[in-house]
Subunit: 151 residues, 2 copies
Amino acid sequence: MSTITTLTSALQQAGMRLTPQRTSICELLVDSDEHPTAAMIYETLKPRFASLSLATVYNTLDTLVSLGVVNVLGHAGDDKVHYDADTEPHVNLACLSCSKIVDIPSEHVTHLDAEITAASGYKLLGARVLYYGLCPACQKKQARQATMKRN
Amino acid sequence: MSTITTLTSALQQAGMRLTPQRTSICELLVDSDEHPTAAMIYETLKPRFASLSLATVYNTLDTLVSLGVVNVLGHAGDDKVHYDADTEPHVNLACLSCSKIVDIPSEHVTHLDAEITAASGYKLLGARVLYYGLCPACQKKQARQATMKRN
DNA sequence: TTCCAAATTTAGAATGATTATAAAATAAGA
DNA sequence: TCTTATTTTATAATCATTCTAAATTTGGAA
């Protein structure tokens, strides 16, 4: 599991300075289990840094992604780009109705790396496993609406 | 494996007309193993339909995606959105250097559906499994360049 | 065939996320 | 403190995608 230090020390080892903005972005990514978007990060931190710029958020995210400590999830039902500080093999499961994304540990995903490397000869650098569907709550909601229509 | 009929009949069953433009887009998606982007599809078909509009390409792709017969792959190394007519469980493997995307059949991926459904209670509607790394050719290229620098 | 209404395509404008730029602010070291 | 490189900021620019209204095409009915 990623801690704040995982992200901040990645930045430092890449020779970058640990500014308050960068540290806060890293904290937010690790603390939140909501797979935030760049805009969500910006809005959340704006009260703390009155002069915060979206460019800073994007720059920091890009750096973290290229350092391999953060993953990108796009097209997860809401057409927004989400960021995930958990780079351990796992399944991201997005609800197409309420747009929440949850993480699922998976026996099979943990074995995928070896299987793919053996089959392809590629040198693997990262992964994004995204499933989408309807969460239990939204399934009920849909069933309820269908019933109401019928009556 | 998807055939042209898989896509075209999906459109028809959704009550949509089979126009020449739509048919050609479906053909291209099925025939190509290059996971084309909207822009690539537009450029390829432009000679055949002088008046083709990008809006038509986007509309058709969106429809096919929402019908579940085409998948979307974003952030596959080249920051472009690719489309994949193969919706069977498999791994998409993207090379970060040459940006080609290949499909890998996988024993583990075929079992993921059942595992995720059991673990989450979600009703699954689709999936996108994207790994990225360096293909064998690009690994050699990188090794060669490292050698040249040393000398 | 001809006509009609609905669906579709088209061209171009609008949107909106992301990127680029240049100036101001900040941090680290001498 | 002074100096210099890095970083942040504000704003402009870019570009993929979506929207809109008009023109075209389609399939069915007469």
